[in-house]
């Protein structure tokens, strides 16, 4: 058994496998399948200051080796989370991060402030990259000044681990990554979904009620890997990589590109046990290649 422990800027994880926001509910949905305390951490669903209904149906389209979603951050709002969800999370013995979104900087701040008070929440993942909401969302992650404003403001009120999740829908992801680092992010996670579209040729209609949605799954893996590698070469804070990770081999590719940990998203839908296979597969890989610790392969791409 290799050493899978990893320290992400003070966030100590028993292994580098997390689940991605919006693909893991509040964790409780997986309890029938496995003990979710085996995860390095899990990230709960996108949470906003006010309750959100999300977008209308249909919200999903299958695409080649991937899918589009246009959920639009359906959630009960931070008060509902604190009152009704948080108490249920107290029984878990692993790191829990809350994914936070907002339409304005003030909303981000108000939401983060309330999470700061929750002892059992190890950190937040600041989502400045949701492509499925009309206001805010991705806009914060595709412009340097906007990213700067939101990260800086939240940093002032949130004292624990602040991971910032970047949008891949940009010309130069390293630019945004550096801004985020400079404003005090503890770590960076990427990628969120790519803005995309599906059309039903027979009915001549868009498949999604919102016309465009976010692309995820193996189709985006090569883009995600490239971005992780670029960001790894541009910032010093740790990176949490994701985008199309289906198995341990995919995960290893992200570590080599520079990710200190990874998140599993869409793969949860295909195989609810995906994270469990990935954790043991990483261990196998390390043993087979005679590495003692996961730390020995992070960023170790041989050029």
């Amino acid at each position: 058994m290799a050493d899978l422990n990893i320290d992400i800027a003070g966030l100590k994880l028993k292994n580098p496998v997390l689940t991605a926001s919006g693909t893991f509910g509040y964790g409780t949905e997986f309890e029938d399948f496995y003990d979710i305390n085996t995860l390095g951490a899990f990230v709960v669903k996108g949470t906003t200051l006010h309750a959100r209904q999300g977008n209308s149906y249909p919200r999903m389209a299958e695409t080649p080796s991937g899918m589009l979603n246009a959920v639009g951050l359906q959630n009960g709002g931070i008060r509902y989370f604190v009152d009704h969800i948080y108490p249920k999370l107290l029984r878990f013995d692993t790191n829990i991060l809350v994914n936070v979104s907002g339409s304005t900087v003030e909303e981000y701040i108000a939401c983060a402030e309330q999470i700061d008070d929750l002892e059992h929440i190890t950190g937040i993942e600041l989502n400045i990259s949701c492509p499925n909401v009309k206001e805010g969302g991705m806009a914060f992650g595709t412009s340097c000044p906007a990213a700067e404003a939101v990260v800086k403001s939240v940093r002032k009120v949130y004292r624990k681990h602040m991971m910032v999740k970047l949008s891949p829908n940009v010309t130069d992801i390293t630019e945004i990554a550096r801004v985020v680092e400079n404003q005090g992010a503890d770590s960076i996670s990427l990628i969120n979904t790519l803005l995309a579209m599906a059309i039903h040729a027979e009915s001549r209609k868009p498949v999604l009620s919102t016309v465009t949605g976010g692309l995820s799954g193996p189709a985006v893996k090569p883009i995600a890997l490239r971005m992780v590698w670029q960001v790894y070469n541009s910032v010093k804070i740790p990176i949490v990589g994701m985008g199309g990770i289906m198995n341990a081999t995919d995960a290893i590719e992200f570590f080599l590109a520079g990710a200190s940990a990874i998140q599993v998203g869409t793969a949860n839908f295909i195989d609810p046990l995906a994270t469990q296979h990935i954790i043991s597969g990483i261990d196998d890989y390390l043993e087979r290649h005679k590495f003692h610790s996961i730390n020995e392969i992070i960023g170790e791409l041989q050029l």
Binding site: T23, E62, M67, N268, F269
Partner: protein, 259 residues
Amino acid sequence: MKKTVQNLQVISHRRLNSDHVVLELKSDEKLDGILPGQFANILVDGSQKVFLRRPFSIYLVDYNCNTISVLIKAIGDGTRILSDQSIGNQLSVIFPLGNGFILPATPTKVLLVGGGVGIAALMILAKMLKENGHQVVILLGAKRIVDLVELEEFAKYGTVYTTTEDGTHGTKGYVTDHSLFREECSSFGKIYTCGPEPMMKAVARLALIHHVNCEVSLENTMACGYGVCLCCITETIDGHRCVCTDGPVFDIKRLKWQI
């Protein structure tokens, strides 16, 4: 039963007609307590065109053999590949999912209305209703006679009536054109329906008019099938609700249908 991911083995493959098959899938583990109306989410492994799992109602359960059956109508790549599975193949299946129909508390005369492949959700329901002492009437509608399948199987559990749009079997017209609705609708303690949405809405309208309780089983495009992706919503009086966890069965009074 708790939801599980299992590799189930295809142990029988029964072709009903050119595009319908019933697959019987065997588990290595003991099955218990699957509710009528629950479904299974099946992986179409290795196909280029099918990325996500495909949901199917649980058609029948055999607790002695630890098998579940699904009735599949081939309409696209996923259902075609599943229809062509050979005996012995393993399929990764997440089940049982969803909430299931609610059976009446006391012996009741009930009506089951099925259309198209929606009949798949009704077989196990008919069986359990009968086993629980209810009086079961089954009305099945289809376009043409060839699309009516498993009538004999249904007949084991209740009286079966049919309608076809072209009149080749039973009453000519839609299910709602059947005399059952005109003549004895109020005599039913409950109506259960599953099929194309327009059909279910027409049935729901009649149920409302005649003040009969009615549950419908909805379809929806699903990514996960167990409540985490929030892709499969329907509008209810409580807001957006997931068809895969809050449903697929809904009391029509909870739905915001324009009927």
